[in-house]
């Protein structure tokens, strides 16, 4: 997961690029077999233990999702933590320091 967070005029803009196949469950492989659905359903971000973002996503989100959001406050050097959950129950967490 790639995360970039930058504060400007007291607003922190967070951009993330998550590596995930985002299989819709509607695609077929070369043999004509349906590739089972495997997509992220929730993405959440926290700053100093407080939640600053939550997204519910579906099959219509592109492979290797890119999401950006902003929040007030946020200090350079402090960490932003991002966690995702997919339909298989798999989850991953990444963090980055605010610039």
């Amino acid at each position: 997961m790639k995360i970039k967070a930058k504060v400007k005029k007291d607003i922190t803009k967070v951009k993330m690029l998550i590596k995930h196949p985002m299989e819709t469950g509607r695609r077929k492989d070369e043999g004509g077999n349906v590739i089972p659905a495997l997509y992220i359903t929730q993405v959440s971000a926290s700053y100093r233990g407080q939640r600053v973002f939550h997204a519910e996503v579906g099959q219509a989100v592109s492979k290797d999702p890119y999401i950006a959001f902003s929040f007030k406050g946020g200090l350079p050097g402090e960490k932003i933590t991002i966690t995702w959950l997919d339909i298989s129950g798999a989850t991953a967490t990444g963090e980055a320091a605010i610039k």
Partner: protein
């Protein structure tokens, strides 16, 4: 017999602790996924499942940024911004996708209502952004022409 009972109680506690550890963190981070809204197959159905009982009004106060023509429907960049007060959520719908609801951003008092995401569009369709603010739904829409669809394979 007493030992057995003690052992049983200890293992029961351990099991309970494991369950708490396994479930408490995701619960903290993940507050839910509206499965019914994501599985709705029509735009109206998705609206109703996502925002039951709320009326939708067209609004000029939302800025929806998306390409007029998307050469590749599998990666369509979308940005939604608004100056409306107390934004609780922003949802994106693609009218002609098999499941119209693409994403919902749940915002809190710290958030600035400015979100971006890349989505898939199966064919040329209206893209609808809905902002939940002050107990009302505000909508803006735009047609995106898709040259190559992003849902097949």
């Amino acid at each position: 017999m007493q030992m057995k009972r003690r052992y049983f109680l200890a293992s029961l506690c351990k099991a309970a602790a494991c369950i708490v550890a396994a479930t408490s963190f995701p619960r903290l981070a993940f507050s839910g996924w509206n499965e019914r809204a994501f599985q709705a197959e029509t735009l109206d159905g998705a609206f109703k499942n996502k925002y039951p009982g709320l009326d939708i009004v067209d609004s000029q106060a939302i800025k929806l940024k998306a390409p007029a023509i998307a050469e590749n429907g599998s990666v369509v960049p979308v940005t939604v911004k608004t100056d409306l007060p107390d934004v609780k959520s922003i949802s994106l719908f693609v009218e002609k996708n098999p499941s119209p609801l693409a994403a919902t951003f749940n915002l809190g008092p710290l958030n600035v209502a400015d979100v971006s995401i890349r989505i898939r569009m199966g064919e040329t369709s209206n893209l609808v952004a809905v902002v939940e603010s002050g107990g009302k739904l505000h909508r803006v829409q735009q047609e995106v022409k898709v040259t190559i669809g992003g849902c097949g394979g």
